[in-house]
Amino acid sequence: MLLIPCPHCGPRAELEFSYGGEAHIARPVDPASIDDDSWVTFLYERSNPRGVHAERWRHLHGCGRFFNVLRDTVSDTIAASYPAGQPRPALSPDGKGTKR
């Protein structure tokens, strides 16, 4: 089980959370004005990296808030967690934390 650091409540067991998919995907402001390909990109295309992935989690059985996590999809190491709305932090060279 993952130990996920909620930016508000601190580290908690994974079963208190629900997964919310890839982070930083902005919904088109005016969907009616974009073509089908752009809409398909927004709906379905994800980066699916082998490595560090920015993803949304919700502390469902806790403070209830959505936030973002940088998790390595190979090692499951969580390098950072940050409140929703903040930009993706830069990783330190070893990939185990954020740049200070």
């Binding site: 409540c9 079963l15 208190e16 403070c63």
Partner: protein, 188 residues
């Protein structure tokens, strides 16, 4: 019409057959007025003054004065509890004080029932269904949080080293009670 709504504690019948286990004792707390408040900082200050207990700013903490308690639920969300008070009167007084502010205030008194678990083995019993580290270092007196017990969400708080309050939605209350009781059976 509201006179027709009869409040009956969902745990009354279960609690009447409880065995007395001193190392981990279960009890049902009396019904209280419960309001869920959400708001921006300006409204939070006003609500705290009107309620008589300031909303804790530190995450996962509660503060109490008299029979009133304010529990931190989220960064802009608090549970306000008032023992022995009518929720409608409390709601009206806060609503009046908050006039002109942006906020949300919901009477959730009928949503949940509350249980106490006390005794030297209380934390051990809770850990049968709750993944939190309940040592006094990481879950000190004065802490509260929503968490999981078994398959149910609970609001867990610790008013004293060997005393936990569990606030649980009515439809989950008998499940939580019986799971706790089963765990307590180890010491019967």
């Amino acid at each position: 019409m509201s006179d027709l709504a009869i409040r009956e504690n969902s745990l009354g019948r279960l609690a009447s057959v409880i065995r007395n286990i001193p190392s981990a004792t279960l009890a049902v707390l009396p019904d209280t007025a419960k309001l869920l408040f959400r708001g921006r900082p300006a409204a939070v200050d006003v609500a705290g003054r009107a309620f008589g207990v300031a909303m804790p700013q530190e995450a996962c903490r509660f503060s109490a004065r008299g029979g009133r308690t304010a529990y931190w639920c989220g960064p802009d969300e608090w549970l306000l509890q008032a023992g022995g008070e009518a929720s409608a009167a409390l709601f009206a007084s806060l609503d009046a004080a908050l006039a002109g502010q942006s906020y949300s205030l919901v009477d959730v008194s009928h949503r949940s029932d509350a249980i106490t678990l006390s005794g030297p083995e209380a934390a051990y019993i809770l850990n049968h269904g709750c993944p939190l580290d309940l040592s006094l270092q990481t879950f000190p007196v004065g802490m509260c949080t929503r968490t999981i017990f078994g398959k149910a969400t609970i609001m867990l708080s610790r008013p004293a080293p060997e005393l936990f309050h569990i606030d649980v939605w009515r439809s989950f209350a008998s499940y939580v009670w019986q799971l706790l009781e089963e765990a307590c059976g180890e010491f019967a």
